[in-house]
Structures are given as C-alpha cells and as structure tokens.
C-alpha cells in the first residue's frame, strides 16, 4: 500500500475491427490517485480521457467512466519478499461519455493481488534474486446482465453483458536490487535504476455468450527515481481474437509518500 499518483498514463493503440466498422486508433490519457487510510487499507480514484479516430478521419472523444477502488493488504512477509492484497474496483456507470463507449451501468471487480520476490534463492542462483512476479486475479461483474436497444424500424436487439475473468501480472528484473543486494556490476546511470519487465493482461467472458481469451502482453522498462518513476511499454495483442495492432504506453508516476511524507503522503489514521 502506498500514496501514489499516476499522472499521466498515455497510451495509444489501434483497436480491432468490429461488426460496426474498422478499428479506430485510440489514444488514452489516464490518471490514478491512491491514498492510504491506514497502513494496510487504501482507496483509489481513476479517470481516463479517450480520443478515438476512425479510419474515415472521424474523431470522437470524452471521458470513459470514472472508477473508484478500495484495497486491503492482508499479508506481508518481508524476509520472504511476499505480499498479498484484496481489492474491489467500481467502474461507475453513467459517469463517462457514451460516444467513447462508456457504459450506462456499473461494473464491480473483486480482485486478489499477489507479489513475490526471489531474494531467498541460493548463492548459485544469486543473479535470479532480482526477479519478482506479480499477479492479479479478478472477476468483473456488471450490474446489468444485458441491454436492449430498438432501432428506427422498431427491431429490438439484446446485448449481453457477461461476467469477465481478468488475469494480469508481471515478471520483472530489478537492476537496483541487483546493485544493492547481489552484485554491483558497475552499470552506469540511468541503467542502474531501471527495472525490466513484461506485463500481461488477459480477459475472458465466462457466461452470457462466453468467448475466448483476449488481452495484451506489454514488455517494457521502468526507471525508478527518488520521487518519480517513468514507465515505457509496448502493448502487443496476444492473439488475433484480440485484434488491433501494437501500441505504446508511457507513464509518469509520483511517490507521494516520499514527496510529502508529513501531509499527503501518510495514512489518514
């Protein structure tokens, strides 16, 4: 748990074509603010401004639905470099623009978060100690099971809203950890503060016309400074069902607990 601000997270990617037309180029500018209420309990608020450019040049833009979250860290083992939390994300229906696809209904996603480092590996495998893995396992549950629309001719169409299994995670290799705990290999700045990582984000509808897996895999690099962290990732579809093309994601992240340790950056209670 931490007091953090991600502002902005900018990503761009061509979306997959649908029955309604060719894929649009979507640019997203997002922010997320996380605040600790107690050392182990935090809340978050996020917003995402979308700009979609269709193949014919038409542009639509607006906010996606705002989202609120709560997260509780129930397990932490410092020597074992292990951590686990549970959280609930609330995608708040009706708070975004319909033009960019924001739904009129809410979606609730209970999620289990886990993280594990490998600092306990034996001397023979010491160069694997900077490895860490994280995982998130959630089920997105819409507050409405389907929506019915009626066209100009009076024909009704029902769009199901399935529950969606969401699995995300990362494998990362921390060069700061390598230099501080394993061996200083003499790497110069800025490389000695970099974290190499591959993230993945997969989702699968599990009911109401359930479908196959879709998602992206995101190889990239982070640079961790004293107060800020920069992230750069490629966004690559995992399969043809996901559709669309490769994209890119850039993030600037502020550690509020380091920037303002006596005010914004400490738990409320």
């Amino acid at each position: 748990m931490a007091d953090e601000l991600a502002l902005p997270t900018i990503s761009q990617r061509r979306l997959g074509a649908t029955d309604e037309g060719p894929g649009a180029r979507e640019t997203s500018a997002a922010m997320e603010y996380d605040k600790r209420l107690t050392p182990n309990l935090g809340v978050g608020l996020s917003a995402d401004y979308l700009r979609q450019q269709q193949a014919d040049g038409t542009v639509t833009d607006g906010f996606d639905n705002w989202a609120a979250s709560v997260k509780y860290q129930f397990y932490k083992n410092d020597p074992g470099e292990a951590i686990a939390s549970v959280g609930l994300d609330w995608d708040i229906g009706g708070t975004g623009a319909k033009a960019v696809g924001a739904e009129s209904f809410s979606t609730f996603t209970p999620t289990l978060f886990v993280g594990k480092g490998f600092g306990e590996l034996p001397e023979g495998a010491k160069f694997l100690r900077p490895l860490a893995v994280t995982g998130a396992f959630g089920l997105a549950i819409p507050s409405r099971s389907s929506s019915t629309t009626v066209d100009a001719d009076g024909n009704a169409a029902v769009e199901p809203h399935p529950d969606v299994l969401r699995i995300g995670g990362s494998v990362q290799y921390s060069l700061p950890y390598l230099h501080s705990f394993v061996k200083d290999v003499g790497m110069p700045e800025p490389f000695r503060r970099m974290i190499l990582l591959v993230e993945f984000d997969l989702q699968k509808p599990v009911d109401r016309e359930a479908g196959g897996w879709t998602g992206t895999v995101n190889p990239g690099v982070l640079w961790a400074g004293r107060y800020v962290q920069l992230g750069l990732e490629a966004v690559i579809p995992v399969n043809s069902r996901t559709g669309g093309g490769n994209g890119v994601l850039v993030q600037l992240h502020f550690f509020l607990d380091d920037l303002f340790p006596q005010s914004l950056g400490k738990p409320v209670f």
Binding site: Q172, F181, E199
Partner: protein, 120 residues
Amino acid sequence: MKSARIAAAALLLALAATNAGAHAFLDRASPSVGGSVASAPGEVRLRFTAELEAAFSTIRVLDSGGRQVDKKDKQIDPSDRRVMRVSLPPLPNGTYRVFWRVLSVDTHATEGDYTFEVGK
C-alpha cells in the same frame, strides 16, 4: 473501451511492487556489493538515495562465523547525510557480510545486506 485502463492497471501493479525501493535505497557501497578487494579495507562506506536519521540507522559487518568485526563506531557523514560508514580493524582474508538498516528523514525504514571478499 477498457483496454487502455486495463493496461494502466497492470502497469500500476508492477509499480506497486517496486515502490519499496523508492525510499532509502542503497545506491553505492565500498567495498562494492558482491565485490572483492585485494587487501583489507579500513572502513565500509554506504551511500543511500536519501538522507538518513542517525539515531535509527545501523551498520554491522560480520565474518563468516557470524562474529561482528567492525569497530562499532558508525557515523553519518555530516557533509552528506546520505552516507554512513563504520571502521574496520585489519581483517584476515575471507568473506564478510554487511548488514544495514536505515531510517530515512521521510521516516521510511529499509534494510538489507550484502557480501564482499578480502584477499580473493
């Protein structure tokens, strides 16, 4: 239209895992982390990424048998409060482990250890 948000959330997940290192993180060490020196060093000098609170920051140097071998005269450098050092007596060849625990001025505690070798 959740693809971008999902990607952002995944990135945040990774960021959360690295945040613990954003406080007082060991930046440089002499003797170096995992390194070896031909002759016994006169001190262990650690430089962190944040200024330290002297009263709550410690450093110990242990030999391979677990005995503390430093002179227990830990100091924070008054001209650079990111630097902590402890003196060493003449050490025989061998492997030594440095344990550090520091509290940065922003009240975050971190700790760690590393080894170095003398005479190899």
